[in-house]
């Protein structure tokens, strides 16, 4: 949570000025963009694909719908959505980071997905879209890096159509103590080394591990979504709570 009095926020375990967080996060992703997909597969043993497919199933996407894939990074979810909404629908891949957006655009074009995808560099806290524009909004592994999460959720609520739904896929708190210990060992000892080896950048992956611990747990995020106006907010723990998928509707 950001502290509004002193205008500081967390960047992993460090405390930084709120104005600096955006550029600090940006540096992390400029640094890892090229190796992002490889690292995702390595770090999660490929399970991140299943988490994303689960998100897709929970979206119940239909042909012709408009989808916003926020903090969409290298476009994994955008690719899945693009096929399903078809030529009558549209998917907007939005990310605050130009490097990630460029990698995503190249990847999707290589897959032949060009017809119904738009690319927008946008800040989740102030989305540059009209009110009630989207049937589905997803933010997968992105909310953690946003400086002001409440502003971001409010902004998503604004651009979502009535009847639409928001899906937040994010690292969360493992439910069993044993898993928690193993997971801590893995994230603080192995993860930065893997980052160093593959992406040549240990600090970014140290930040990843720290930012996961600083992210609100399942119940807190549920409350935050409810405060932003979302109704019928519920969550699914995936892989023992290492990741949670929150779903909320706008009515």
């Amino acid at each position: 949570m950001s502290d509004s009095n002193s205008k500081t926020t967390h960047f992993g375990y460090k405390t930084v000025a709120e104005d600096d967080k955006v550029s600090l996060v940006a540096n992390v992703f400029h640094s890892v963009a090229a190796k992002y997909d490889v690292m995702n597969d390595l770090m999660s043993f490929g399970i991140h694909r299943l988490w994303k497919r689960f998100t897709l199933d929970c979206s119940a996407v239909r042909p012709g719908q408009k989808v916003l894939d926020l903090a969409g990074g290298t476009g994994d979810l955008t690719a899945l959505f693009s096929k399903r909404v078809g030529p009558g629908g549209k998917v907007v891949l939005a990310d605050i980071n130009a490097s990630m957006l460029a990698v995503g655009r190249d990847k999707l074009r290589d897959q032949g997905l060009v017809d119904n995808i738009e690319y927008v560099q946008a800040n989740a806290e102030a989305l540059p879209f009209a009110d009630n524009s989207f049937d589905i909004i997803t933010i997968a592994f992105g909310l953690r890096n946003v400086t002001n999460k409440d502003a971001a959720l409010a902004s998503m609520f604004r651009v979502l159509k009535p009847g639409g739904r928001l899906l937040v896929l994010e690292f969360s708190k493992p439910q069993s103590e044993l898993l928690n210990k193993a997971y801590d060992f893995y994230s603080f000892n192995l993860l930065p080394k893997m980052g160093q080896l593959v992406a040549g950048d240990a600090d970014s992956y140290q930040y990843l591990a720290e930012s996961i611990r600083m992210h609100p747990d399942q119940q807190t995020l549920q409350q935050m979504m409810e405060q932003a106006g979302f109704a019928e907010v519920s969550y699914h723990n995936l892989t023992g709570g290492i990741v949670a998928l929150h779903r909320g509707y706008k009515f």
């Binding site: 119940a60 042909p63 399903r84």
Partner: protein, 201 residues
Amino acid sequence: MLQLAPQWLTGLAEKALTEIIALDPAAQSRLQRLSGRQLAFQLTEFDWRLVLTATKDSIALNLHQEAVDCAIRASLSSLRQLRDPNQLTHLIKTDAVQIDGDIQIAQQFSNFFQQLNPDWQSHVARYLGDGLTHKLSLLLSQLAMLIRHKQQSLQQLTTELLQDELQLSPHPVEVTQFCTEVSQLHARLERLQQQLKLWQE
């Protein structure tokens, strides 16, 4: 981990389906007519409902319980009968199969899969050459015929064993005869009841 197994399976099935459809040159044009339609299918024995979405070059798979163009619910036992169009009304009447939405979409999907004829030979021929592929193709169709033949003879053998040797199951003629006898008995009973009624009055 088992929690995500259905997503893993649908992901794999979707990839396989895309490959198979890509091998059938005629499939693309037939898909165009289907494009943008959604069909859901669920077996009553399981919680999962499979949703098929026709896209421009493949069929995407998902698992959810929400609104689609046409939804079919059937039990495992009625699945075999579902292939026979004559049985369909009977199955719907007896609630063995429930269909919600546009039944034509279900038929269009069914037609698409029945007509799907992937030209795997020309794909394999790139690696094995034409001659070897032809032999392989011949071998496979002979194998399929052999299996079908064995299956038929096994079925016949089982029937004979159950009906004639072990006498565990009646012959169809015996069943018919038994049914006739039961209805004759029923008729006699009715007659007797009516006579009894007359005497009582």
